[in-house]
Assembly symmetry: C2
Homo-oligomer: 289 residues x 2
């Protein structure tokens, strides 16, 4: 149980966490915090939070759990503001999609990685953003990955673990470098590819036709290109090494595919497409899509 | 109205057309044809067709409408078989995703583009294939693009137009080069990118983790990589010039994006992501996704 939960950044992720913990009555009180008063008033009206503060230091006062659900670029300034104001028993966790960068931010701002900080990442989301897009079931049966360091307090890890489990998620612990490589591959790279493709096509001379005659496959393929811009800009900056590494693999393979199409190399196309279909069907077969 | 419709290739597209025309009682009889007797028996059992033939020449005999719904690689051999057996009033159309290649096939096999052939393309589909995946509403409110040449019989065009409209689709006419360029961009390229990405990731050392922690965005992004392999191999071969052209644009842009990530160029990332999100949201805003 949480006595007083502080959610800094009451958007899709922060708002959905609040919704889902309310559903199971896991918190006595939920305090929202953010830069935008109007959005906090909206969160209050929706019943997502009980009260709000626009100053992070005031927001965390007396709270035993603090969740940082701000874009990664805002992490340093928020950490600086809250660190001196935390209650002695407070546990802090974040929801950032790149974990090594959060550790660097902590080291810069606090001088070390504090034992009370549990780096975390709920692997869930939609292309929408803001508190109006939040909903109680976002984390149901989704993965949350925690990446504690060697001296992270095990009690703090357990409390964050229990919170996410109460929100409906499966919780896993993972080395942070591995986390960053895996997420670069499955999440960050696809977002870069989708944004890039829509932009390439939008700048072509036939772009009106292109979008007019796009079928469902294109809509699915580019859905993630409607995601929040600043959030994804920050993720690309925060996890750039891992993203560039997997993108370089992909670019090599894509150039080879381009040659195969250019040369009419049916066997190569069939081999690549066949391996891909087999890999995807193995993973998702039987699932409802 | 169609007296006797012959569908050659009773899979997702051919089967769904049969289903949807039955729904509005647009045909007196539907004859199926294909290489695989078991699949034709299945189509018969599902009530998709009234009878079947495994020989295309026998199948088209007496039919006033023939729809070629075979993979593009099978087009030449099917055209060769049916051309001498067609009824005098027969109209033939196809559903291929690349139209210039169909015209080349006709020229090779028939010696010219016959007035009774109406090149067509329903811009609809799912990642599934086979008659079991077919359904009556696949074409509802979807685009069908017809690309007649200068001497295509206008009466034939009208009959194909009316057939697709009865199947629920919006029918448009377009120059075939423009069709091939537009489809390369919105359909063929995304398939190549999705197949390529899944294959790249499946061959990486952490591929088990990668697929285990993939979220909904990845599932949507890679859905088209579960599509029929032979069909997409054939499309890549049939429309290779247009695909390579748009892929080269994309590769240039992707290399520039790679540099921006590598260099931490926040402004460039924000510009590209912002343009992409604006272009996609403009097109799909308000729609249910």
């Amino acid at each position: 149980m949480i006595r007083s939960l502080c959610v800094i950044g009451v958007g899709l992720i922060g708002g959905s966490l609040a919704h889902s913990l309310r559903r199971v009555q896991y918190c006595q009180e939920i305090v929202g915090c953010g830069r935008n008063r109007q959005s906090l008033e909206r969160a209050l009206a929706l019943g997502v939070i009980d009260r709000f503060e626009t100053d992070p230091a005031a927001a965390v006062r007396g709270c035993d759990m603090v969740v940082l659900a701000v874009p990664m670029g805002a992490m340093r300034s928020v950490l600086k503001r809250i660190a001196p104001a935390l209650a002695p028993d407070a546990v802090v966790t974040d929801v950032g999609s790149a974990k090594q960068d959060v550790i660097e931010a902590l080291t810069e701002v606090v001088g070390e990685v504090p034992a009370w900080f549990v780096p975390g990442h709920p692997v869930a989301g939609t292309e929408r953003s803001g508190v109006d897009a939040s909903f109680a079931t976002l984390f149901d049966e989704r993965s949350v990955i925690l990446t504690p360091v060697s001296h992270t307090d095990p009690v703090a890890v357990q409390r964050v673990h229990d919170m996410w489990e109460s929100a409906g998620a499966y919780v896993t612990t993972m080395d942070m470098a591995r986390h960053d490589a895996v997420l670069a591959a499955t999440s960050h790279l696809p977002h870069v590819l989708a944004y890039g493709l829509v932009d390439t096509l939008a700048r072509m001379s036939q772009s009106d036709d292109i979008f007019a005659f796009a079928a469902g496959g294109f809509r699915d393929f580019t859905r993630i290109a409607s995601s929040d811009i600043e959030m994804w800009r920050d993720i690309c900056l925060a996890n750039r090494e891992a993203i560039v590494s997997v993108l370089d693999h992909y670019l090599d393979d894509l150039h080879r595919l381009r040659e195969a199409i250019h040369d009419g190399d049916a066997a190569w196309l069939q081999e690549v497409f066949g391996r891909a279909k087999a890999a995807r069907d193995r993973r998702y077969s039987g699932g409802t899509e």
